[in-house]
Symmetry: D2
Subunit: 294 residues, 4 copies
């Protein structure tokens, strides 16, 4: 009987923990949850039959999932858990974390007989609710395969490399999202100034070679509507872009376009607000062009 | 009875003219073709029953399509046609041309009672053969609607704005293709240096938010395979990026990411070769990172 | 006896025309002046003994200098002058103009027996008053040498190439000013966020390898003091950066850093105001970093 | 009587240690030197009367200077020195190091009663030989003032902030050098393609607002002459640019121009060679433009 635990009941973690709980309950194992603000774990317990637990109780689970804003929060919670950790525990970190932190954490946890895998997810809150997230796994193949059957929230899980590789791929995915989004914003702002209808332009681009997830989904649904619903914060995407730049620099690589994009998203997070939706970065483009994208 | 004519039987134009010819023949009208190298028109005539014609004969058509490398070639052919042009002819230019040229050409042709629409296409040689191209039409609504039934090579045709708007949207689409392609190349080169498997990384990115036509189709099919089949030349994409920059600057816009991308593609066309496939631009990234993307 | 004329009595032109007038008077020749707002020419006449003249009178001079905001204004005034131009007149355009305009204007004026040289100046209002401007001359060597003795406002005059080369060099000079200024702004903003004293940082940079005219003069005198005195408008520098990008693209060149800088100055002119001093571009950096540079 | 020690007799350190030795000898104190390759310390001892010493002997000095390629080499030598370090020793690190390393080293050394100041230098091998280097000091004011009289190799020494601030300012200075150099290279390559004489263009730029140390000294002396004499390696400047990017990112700053420059210098170090002179970065621009800068 496997005890599953989940730390971090945010917009992503809350539904992810529900999928894990459902699977655990089918297999007769308990599902523990913890959140910094206890109200969230009470709500989760009421809604999904999970058990709100203390960190020392969490530390006795067999399988621990974390999904927190950044690796810094993972390190904080790790400092509190460490004295209590059960040998043999497998820690699956779904945070969009930093590859350097993954390597450090794996080394420190190994000293206590605990395994650590980086397993960030993509698919947004919609994918988390539907249980169709894409998981990018970093770590030794054997440990990855052992964890794979437990990823109840996943539609696809791919082993991309050694420890840290999952975080690295996630960071690159997110900086590509940022590039594709920003570039489309620049192009559409210019077309709008030419009195081209933005929706007509999107229609043809999305039937053409320049299309991306940003042009197909994000801009029509969030920018052109002027809704900018906050499901993924601009400050977090700016942080992910910074990790991507570290990934490039960490191997002595050269990525001028990614570097510039990371700087522009940092500027947008500062000028527009880190708490806005990530698509609100395009408001900085609008200021730079005195032109709304709609 | 409508006489249709087509100038420019290149990789795109050859199958496009075939679709037009088929439609013309169904309606009983002749389909004339012309190409700078006459062998191409003879081959087209033999294969599709079109008629290889002289430029003065072409100038007497009702509906003239052009599909040439750049607006410069359109202006050359226009200089030769002008003395012979029939009043009332409608000229549909499918070249990936320059918006400034479109406005100039429309004005000059109007003096001779000839109408001009910019109507660039997207979809590659595959779309041209299948007759599923996306057409971006610029010009007055009435003229656009009059031409629409004749676009036998199109899967989708969208009126995006006044004269030049078609070329502007095409240029922005192509610079977005360039951005998405180059950025994915930078990110994958860094991951490869981290010993991440490039195909595994593409698999997750293509199931995630960073996906684009470049990551889903171009890089797996052309770069990772090391084939770089030349269906769209790097020099032409670099030229399109330059038009996109002109589109931005022409309205006093600011697009730092597009501007940098245009400069990098110009560098790639110079350093790698203008005649290589557009995806071979990533070979410059490989040199900058001493790392193959595979 | 040479009749000298001057069009464009702005912040630069007013003192430049004074130097020309002084030289003309020593040689016994009249010095005519014209400005779109006539009050300026009256003031100049009163102060320097020049003669406020009509455009047809100006067109009868032997030597005509223009110093206007952009080539567009030169073309406007040229349209008015053309019917009246004396054969043999030499037109020296000190505007920070566009190389394409220079070539067009030289060709058009040649048809009327009038010579045209591009001769932009550098040195600011201080240099104009002191008569120590640097002049960059474009045109045939013989015509350049014939004009050289008449450049009474110059401290240095260099023949840099054929028609348009003067404007090209001026545009490159100005985009380098823009790059050096913006980069120093980015670096100092980061240091200020690290609680490094900006003036101490400037002191060492200016004694080190990273120094430039921007770090040595502009930032200490205009930015750190928060004065931003408007002697050279941000909108004009953004325009010059755009010309520099055209210079690069016109020869199929690749200049990613200049391209990005031009885009950022265009953004600054839009977001901060085209009429502010060019150093006020750094206020956009301050917004992007939530940090004053002082 | 003060015992002075110097580690790192490279192109900069060799003459710097000579100035320190001269001052020490005047004051009657011994001057010890150490280098990884012992031949260098023997040559220094023979030439300047210094004493080649072992690392344990060095660790007993009162004042220790280090001047090594990067903070990594400083950390290696620190690991060897640490067991032997005399309490009260003051360690002045003239390496172009990393601010994070400075803070880490200061903390670790403080545990052993040893003080650490970051004190990078600018001025090149010429300044080192002449004893006119500019020193950027980071650390508490009292310790900085105590060290100031001993900086025999300095023409100017400025206290720029707390621990790490010296390294931060040095990194920003060097990335500004990189920006100014690269931008001038891009601009001159474009002018050369326009058949403008590069030396004439440099002459006017250097008398105008776009001038910088790069345009005034480096490019005329090293690039236009095609000599590229290696006094400061491209790989080291690329490393410094990387530190500058870390300085920006460490405070959540946005510096798109510096970020792009760092990526381009990393590409140049990879494509041209890390061991070439830093000005040889412009050879990558030459490849991107198919144009020599001369």
């Amino acid at each position: 009987m496997t005890t599953t635990a989940f730390i971090g009941l945010g917009a992503m973690g809350f539904p992810m923990a529900a999928h894990l709980a459902r699977q655990a309950q089918q297999q007769g194992g308990p599902a523990l949850v913890w959140n910094r603000t206890p109200g969230k774990s009470e709500a989760h317990a009421a809604q999904y039959g999970t058990v709100g637990a203390s960190l020392p109780e969490i530390a006795q689970a067999d399988l621990l999932f974390t999904c927190l804003p950044t690796s810094a929060e993972v390190e904080e919670v790790m400092a509190q858990l460490t004295p209590h950790l059960k040998r043999g525990l497998i820690w699956v970190d779904c945070t969009s974390g930093h590859p350097d932190a993954a390597r450090r954490q794996r080394t420190q946890l190994a000293e206590r007989g605990v395994s650590f895998l980086d397993a960030p997810v993509s698919g947004g809150t919609g994918g988390a609710e539907a249980g169709t997230l894409t998981v990018m796994l970093g770590g030794p193949a054997g440990e990855v395969e052992a964890v794979r059957p437990h990823l109840a929230f996943a539609g696809k899980a791919v082993h991309v490399g050694d420890t840290g590789a999952g975080f690295a791929v996630k960071a690159i995915n997110n900086v590509l999202l940022a590039v594709n989004l920003w570039a489309a914003g620049e192009g559409l702002a210019a077309l709008a100034r030419h009195d081209v209808n933005v929706s007509a332009a999107l229609e043809v681009i999305n039937a053409s070679s320049g299309r991306s997830n940003a042009s197909q989904n994000l801009i029509p649904q969030r920018v052109v509507t002027r809704e900018f619903p906050c499901t993924f914060a601009l400050g977090l995407l700016a942080k992910d872009c910074g990790i991507a730049v570290d990934v490039v620099n960490g191997v002595g690589g050269s990525a001028p376009l990614l570097a510039q994009t990371a700087a522009l998203f940092r500027a947008a997070a500062t000028a527009i607000g880190a708490g806005a939706d990530h698509t609100a970065a395009l408001k900085l483009i609008e200021q730079m062009n005195a032109q709304e994208i709609k």
